[in-house]
């Protein structure tokens, strides 16, 4: 089994190279010369997105930026060679320098990470804390009024993408009724507040984004828990448990519940990666200064070192998250032996 996981970790390397090479090539193999493209596209999107951007950054790339880009991508060199140069730098933890801020990319990303992690972890914790008990009680009282009523609400979150939920929340609760702020992570006077007020301030700003973040994963996790438990309740070993005289609650908690956690564990790794890297849609809507918003702005501003840097980090998180998922599955389900009976 450990051989299997070692192989999985080694396989990260070719997959990672594949992903980054793909995106790298896409930014290069574009008809009309990438730099000119970027310039015209920068002008066009500059006009479209003018309202969102500060006027300082300008609509065209400066001469200096063009030279930087040319040097960065090595446009005089073939794709593979310039990719190899880039990859070589990444291996030394050098993601290059942002063409917008003139700061090392790694610094910029590191600065934004805590915000994304805060929302990611909080969402993850609340989701599992609420969804597992909710799913269990829905399974145990299948078709009761509580089950049906909660299903109706959860179904809405399941059908709607989280960014639509976010937009609806912002326009109703922030703009229309003015209950919550329009966006941001903390208030301007955050540093002067005491601990309790700091906590309140974060909560005040965080409520709406957290609901939006949770809308998607909440429904999936609850239904997963419910369906898994219902499946397991109908399993043969539960009949055995009933036959040997266990009460239903004992049988459920000792046998069915544990087995039902397996599919939840499968989704755990993917969720980690998803929440760590932040959702650029939600961060854009709520104007939260995290990784997602950074990536979105970097694309708009054609800050390719940052775009590629974020891609490096999110794809690594996804790859590692997948392995963590498999590892967790193997941990909770001793029947699964990866790499042996395949």
């Amino acid at each position: 089994m450990s051989a299997y996981f070692i192989r999985r970790f080694l396989l990260i390397v070719p997959t990672f190279i594949g992903i980054t090479l793909l995106v790298f090539a896409v930014t290069r193999v574009v008809p009309g010369g990438p730099i000119e493209r970027m310039m015209t596209a920068a002008m066009i999107s500059g006009e479209q997105a003018g309202a969102r951007r500060d006027t300082q950054s300008g609509n065209t790339l400066s001469e200096e930026q063009i030279q930087q880009l040319e040097a960065y991508y090595g446009f005089d060199k073939p794709i593979l060679q310039s990719y190899a140069d880039w990859l070589g730098k990444v291996l030394q933890f050098d993601l290059g320098e942002s063409s917008r801020y003139h700061d090392p990319v790694w610094h910029i990303i590191k600065e934004r990470f805590p915000v994304s992690i805060f929302y990611g972890l909080t969402t993850l914790i609340i989701t599992y804390l609420v969804c597992i008990p909710l799913g269990v009680s829905k399974a145990l009282h299948h078709n009761s009024w509580f089950d049906n009523a909660s299903s109706a609400v959860i179904f809405l979150g399941y059908a709607l993408p989280s960014y639509v939920v976010g937009i609806a929340l912002v326009s109703l609760f922030a703009a229309h009724w003015d209950v919550f702020p329009l966006g941001g992570f903390v208030s301007d006077d955050y540093d002067e507040l005491n601990t309790w007020n700091k906590f309140k301030d974060i909560l005040y700003h965080g409520t709406l984004p957290l609901i939006a973040y949770m809308a998607g994963s909440f429904a999936v996790t609850t239904f997963m828990m419910k369906n898994a438990l219902m499946d397991n309740q109908a399993a043969d070993y539960m009949r055995t448990a009933a036959a040997k005289g266990l009460t239903r609650s004992k049988a459920v908690w000792r046998h069915a519940f544990r087995n039902s956690l397996i599919p939840i564990a499968t989704s755990f790794g993917g969720n980690i990666a998803f929440f760590m890297s932040g959702s650029f849609l939600i961060e854009t809507i709520f104007n939260i200064d995290g990784i997602g918003l950074l990536g979105y702005e970097a694309i708009l501003e054609r800050d390719y070192p940052v775009v590629l840097g974020i891609l490096v980090i999110t794809s690594l998180l996804f790859l590692i998250g997948n392995i963590i998922s498999d590892f967790l599955v193997a941990l909770v389900d001793p029947r699964i032996r990866f790499g042996e009976a395949r």
């Binding site: 396989l11 070719p14 997959t15 594949g18 992903i19 793909l22 995106v23 896409v26 930014t27 574009v30 990438p34 493209r37 970027m38 596209a41 999107s45 479209q48 997105a49 309202a51 179904f155 809405l156 399941y158 059908a159 709607l160 993408p161 960014y163 639509v164 937009i167 609806a168 912002v170 326009s171 109703l172 922030a174 703009a175 229309h176 329009l182 219902m230 499946d231 309740q233 109908a234 539960m238 009949r239 448990a241 036959a243 239903r248 049988a251 890297s277 650029f280 849609l281 854009t284 990536g295 979105y296 694309i299 708009l300 054609r302 775009v307 974020i310 891609l311 999110t314 794809s315 996804f318």
Partner: protein
């Protein structure tokens, strides 16, 4: 009439028995057919003009210049003005569509600056957007584009997925291995992020956007088809077919495909929902279809930039909720029809 095999017929009956999903399917089909004739519901062109004893149906076809109806210009007739004129002097009849505005028509005549709030009087039932275009008209046309877009996406994704996946499962060997690696790479690419990068470089039109999204989206179905083909190919009836001398292509097309493709239909509603969702997200972020294409995402963007004008955001949110709920209900019902689980408890 299509002859269905007994299993499929049973599934269809089970699907019909799930009332919520069945009615959702009917409602969605009606909405889709209605949207195909959107020009008859929301347009600046009249449905029917009776002028000097002649009947005109301006909705489809070339523009009818204003001269025809006694105006002094040669560009397209302003039917709303014509209606007012003819009603005043009783010379003829103009019947306008229920929403007398086209999706691209800017209406700056009413009062102050757009966006205008919903009003029955001006017949902007859901108000106008920031350029004075009717929200309801744009929602109707946007629905048609979004649905056609996701259906096209679905067809291409499934065509590629089914053929490559089937070959992977049937041939196995190095072909399978190579595509396994490719799929592993593709499925780990952050989908929306990479599409945004591509779309920021190539300003996409409708077909380019379909191509880009197919390019990054075909892997899910491929993986499923590979597994399904593997399972089918190992079954006895395939061996029996081979024993009586059936060719490879016959085995694939007559035996394996019919048996594995039928379950693909359980994915269809969720693919459609996914298509609508991603297109709207891309439009919202400004990387989708080029303006002035009517689109829900673009309307959402305008709405979030003008939060005082709640009608823009709310119209899209309600429309999206409605459509996605219908699609999801259908999806759940199909899934249940294919996999009728009977739950039992032991107490």
């Amino acid at each position: 009439m299509l002859r269905l095999n007994p299993v499929a017929r049973k599934r269809l009956e089970r699907f019909k028995a799930i009332r919520r999903g069945y009615y959702s399917a009917i409602i969605l089909a009606v909405l889709f057919v209605l949207s195909l004739g959107a020009e008859l519901i929301a347009s600046q062109r009249a449905l029917l003009v009776v002028y000097e004893g002649e009947w005109y149906f301006p909705t489809y076809g070339d523009i009818i210049p204003g001269e025809t109806f006694g105006f002094d210009y040669r560009y397209e007739t302003d039917y709303k003005a014509l209606k007012t004129r003819l009603e005043a002097n009783g010379e003829g009849l103009v019947i306008m569509p229920p929403v007398p505005y086209g999706p691209l028509e800017t209406d700056l005549a009413v009062g102050d600056f757009p966006p205008h709030a919903p009003s029955l009087e001006t017949k902007h039932y859901l108000g106008t957007d920031t350029s004075g275009r009717d929200v309801l008209a744009r929602i109707i046309y946007g629905f048609r584009i979004a649905l056609l877009f996701s259906l096209l996406l679905l067809v291409f994704n499934y065509l590629i997925g089914v053929s490559i996946g089937c070959l992977m499962g049937f041939w196995g060997g190095s072909f399978d291995l190579i595509f396994q690696r490719i799929i592993e790479i593709w499925s780990n690419v952050p989908f929306l992020y990479v599409i945004m990068i591509v779309a920021s470089i190539v300003q996409p039109g409708f077909w380019t956007l379909v191509a880009i999204m197919v390019f990054f989206g075909w892997t899910g179905i491929t993986w499923y088809m590979r597994t399904a083909t593997y399972k089918e190919a190992a079954r006895d009836y395939v061996m029996a077919a081979r024993a009586i001398g059936a060719s490879n292509s016959r085995i694939v097309f007559r035996h394996i495909l019919p048996n594995s493709v039928s379950t693909l239909i359980t994915f269809v509603p969720f693919s459609v929902a996914g298509g609508i969702t991603s297109l709207t997200a891309l439009d919202y972020l400004g990387f989708g279809l080029p303006p002035p294409t009517p689109s829900w995402g673009e309307l959402l963007k305008q709405g979030t930039e003008n939060l005082d004008s709640l009608w823009m955001v709310m119209s899209v949110v309600v429309a999206m909720t409605l459509v996605l709920m219908l699609v999801t209900y259908i999806g759940e019902a199909i899934r249940e029809a294919f996999d009728p689980r009977k739950f039992s408890y032991y107490e």
